[in-house]
């Protein structure tokens, strides 16, 4: 069905300039689409940043968003990786109440999830976990009974599996201009 909402993940290479985030976010805002998560960071190329945007929209809307993102002058490439083979990770820091009697059980759970305790205080610990959204959610679920006074998580970061580059053509402005764009087909 065309009208069903689905989580779409966009990977963008953008110029690292003031206002670029605003331009990108504005495209979603004006259409009333909510951004579920957004991650921006530098890349291996100076002056070029990579964004991962997760949003729940219809298939038709996703196509339009992709096309409109590419119309932004500061966007160097964009790819909807929703249906591609990708690795996705988030990071979360979870502060968990940890009393003397509950602590051993807590440590056992952390080990099972391959999370790490990175801070230890008399009444609490901070757990760091890296993984997919669902893995983090699973850990959250088991930690909730201990009491979670605070937590923070990043948005998703996504990368294509294998040698293929995500959002192809992100090798910097000069090479970009010489390289045929292959990620886009209508």
């Amino acid at each position: 069905m065309r009208d069903r909402l689905k989580q779409h993940v966009f990977v963008l290479y953008v110029e690292n300039e003031p206002g670029v985030l605003n331009r990108v976010a504005s495209l979603f805002r004006r259409r009333g689409y909510n951004i579920e998560s957004l991650t921006v960071g530098h890349t291996e190329r100076p002056g070029i940043s990579r964004m991962t945007i997760v949003t729940g929209i219809t298939e038709g809307a996703a196509q339009r968003v992709e096309a409109n993102l590419y119309k932004l002058v500061n966007v160097l490439s964009v790819q909807d990786v929703t249906f591609s083979s990708t690795i996705s990770r988030c990071l979360a820091l979870i502060k968990v109440e940890a009393h003397e009697d509950s602590r051993p059980r807590l440590m056992e759970l952390v080990r099972v999830f391959r999370a790490r305790v990175i801070d230890l205080a008399p009444q609490s610990v901070i757990v760091e976990i890296t993984g997919s959204e669902s893995k983090i959610q699973a850990l959250m679920d088991v930690l909730l009974p201990f009491g979670i006074p605070e937590m923070v998580r990043t948005g998703q970061v996504v990368m294509s599996r294998g040698v293929q580059r995500t959002a192809s053509g992100a090798n910097g402005a000069s090479e970009l201009a010489l390289e045929p764009e292959t990620s886009h087909s209508v």
């Binding site: 096309a67 002058v73 970009l176 201009a177």
Partner: protein, 569 residues
């Protein structure tokens, strides 16, 4: 050699071929206006910054070049917003340069500070906040490139006062726009071309939908050759008027909400729509669910974001329209489509008896008469700049444009007050063309202050006010859809002839059909600007009309009582 930022602005504009700039000075742009005294570029002093943007827009649409508008910070910049949005919706290449408060006080609510790059972000193709003199040259050069390339549009450059004042070494060549990336429109898909040709060759009832993109890409000749070779009838969008000669036998006329019945009928009955540089606007399609239900669609468009936006394209051809049609032409097979064209002609002659042009003169003055006579009197050669509303639709129906860039009108945004300033821009761009403003009594009062600009610039613009004492199009909707409750649409106007007189512009009142032609003659012969106030039938409506969101074939036809002696079709 060290140059100030202000000097660099004018130097760049001159090197980019700008002949005139439309603007209004003020505090934050003072250094640039001071440097203007050392430039050979002509500056047109407007009466309101909205006017400056419409003038730049009119200039751009009349020529295809980039129009330039200039204003100060704060209110000067915000007054440009309507004109920028107008240019954005109609893909018109304009560059707006605004002054901004000093970079040290950005964000402090300094006097006349406003975040104009933030405000115009969604209504520009791109914009810049420039805080250093050395960034001015690259920004202007890139702005011109962005404004005029691909699907054109407005670009705004906000330059802080200290950037205008400070000096730096300026190197024109080093300010060359850098290539950021490959445009997705640079390659035309060969396989898709073949698919398109297959559809065209297999079609029995094809229609070409000719849009603004034909004019923007300069593809009129190619489209004409294409339509003639395959004998495909051509329907025009409002902004596509002029892209295909109205007098050509294959030209059907304007489609959509106020399109003639045979045009919309042909679209609804067609088995192939070839959309050339148009975007299936809601004013063109009506109800999307019932739009051309049996037609395959080929969509030739430079902006990939338009593909599948409103209407699903069976074959999208993304690229410059001229290049795409050029590649289709040599492989196009001749066709005649005799039955299809005869079928359209039948519905055309059936509808003609309802046409107001065929009515006997019953003493009333109808706007359609005025437009028809204007067309005849100017031999269809004038550049007509319209405002927005009923008169705009009558112009589109009754003035037959054979050449591109002879109708300049605000389509997408529907900006009242557009006509007079846009005509000033058009006349500056094409001083040897006869330029007519066709405007309603409502829209004219929105920007009539620019009459002073007309006189100060000694521009021989001719103004036809279609005066019905109402905000006519809104009144028409109130009559049709709100049980005739005329809420805030009756409109008091000044004596336009006296008003023109105050500006030193001769004016004429016309109240009967017999006076139309003599008045047009007098105004055309007069060497300067002149105005005619046509006092037309007050509660006349634009027909046919497809109500908003209704099926394209479900149109309200011209009422038969008007036809009097002629028989109903």
């Amino acid at each position: 050699m060290k140059r100030t930022g202000a000097e660099i602005i004018w130097d760049c504009l001159q090197r980019l071929g700008v002949k005139c700039v439309f603007g209004y000075p003020g505090g934050a742009i003072l250094p640039t206006y001071d440097a203007l005294t050392r430039s050979s570029i002509h500056h047109v002093l407007v009466r309101h910054e909205q006017g400056a943007t419409h003038m730049a827009d009119g200039y751009a649409r009349a020529t295809g070049g980039v129009g330039v508008a200039m204003a100060t910070s704060g209110p000067g910049a915000t007054n440009m917003v309507t004109g920028i949005a107008t240019a954005m919706m109609d893909s018109s290449p304009i560059v707006c340069i605004t002054g901004q408060v000093g970079s040290k006080v950005l964000g402090t609510d300094a006097f006349q500070e406003t975040d104009i790059t933030g405000i115009t972000l969604p209504i520009t193709k791109h914009n810049y906040l420039v805080t250093r003199a050395e960034d001015i040259g690259p920004a202007i050069r890139e702005a011109f490139q962005i404004a005029s390339s691909g699907r054109p549009g407005p670009v705004l450059i906000d330059v802080t006062k200290d950037a205008q004042n400070s000096s730096c070494d300026f190197d024109w060549d080093a300010a060359k726009p850098r290539a950021r990336r490959v445009e997705r429109t640079s390659f035309v898909d060969v396989a898709k071309l073949a698919e398109a040709l297959d559809l065209i060759h297999g079609a029995h009832r094809p229609v070409i939908l000719a849009g603004h993109g034909i004019i923007v890409s300069g593809a009129e000749r190619e489209v004409l050759a294409f339509a003639e070779a395959a004998r495909i009838p051509v329907a025009l969008t409002l902004l596509g008027i002029g892209a295909f000669p109205a007098s050509h036998p294959l030209c059907l006329g304007m489609m959509g909400m106020h399109g003639e019945p045979w045009v919309n009928k042909a679209i609804q009955e067609s088995d192939l729509l070839i959309a050339l540089g148009m975007r299936f606007d809601d004013r063109v399609t009506g109800n999307l669910k019932t739009y051309a239900p049996n037609a395959k669609k080929i969509h030739v468009e430079i902006d990939p974001a338009e593909i599948n936006k409103n209407v699903r394209a069976d074959v999208p051809l993304i690229g410059d329209l001229r290049q795409v049609v050029q590649q289709l032409l040599p492989r196009l097979k001749q066709a005649d489509h005799t039955d299809w064209i005869a079928q359209i002609d039948d519905s055309k002659s059936a509808a003609a008896v309802r046409d107001i042009q065929n009515l006997p003169d019953n003493g009333h003055l109808y706007a359609a008469h005025v437009i028809h006579d204007l067309w005849r009197e100017t031999h269809g050669d004038a550049v007509v700049v319209t405002d927005v509303g009923q008169h705009q639709m009558w112009e589109a129906q009754y003035y037959h444009h054979d050449k591109p860039r002879t109708l300049i009108t605000s389509g997408g945004l529907g900006t009242m007050g557009f006509a007079l300033p846009a005509a000033i821009g058009a006349k500056c761009a094409r001083p040897d063309s006869e330029v007519w403003v066709v405007v309603g009594d409502g829209g004219f009062q929105m920007t009539m202050a620019e009459l002073a600009t007309v006189v100060q610039e000694k521009l021989a613009i001719k103004i036809a006010i279609i005066n019905n004492g109402y905000l006519g199009m809104v009144r028409q909707w109130q009559e049709f859809f709100y049980d005739g409750r005329y809420s805030s649409t009756p409109l008091l106007s000044p004596d336009f002839v006296k008003l023109a007189g105050a500006f030193g512009i001769p004016g004429y009142n016309v109240t009967a059909r017999s006076q139309v032609q003599p008045a047009l003659c007098a105004v055309r012969e007069y060497e300067g600007p002149a105005l005619i106030n046509f006092q037309v039938e007050q509660e006349d409506s634009v027909f046919p009309m497809v109500p908003a969101g209704a099926d394209l074939h479900a149109m309200i036809r011209r009422p038969t009582p008007l036809v009097e002696s002629a028989s109903d079709a």
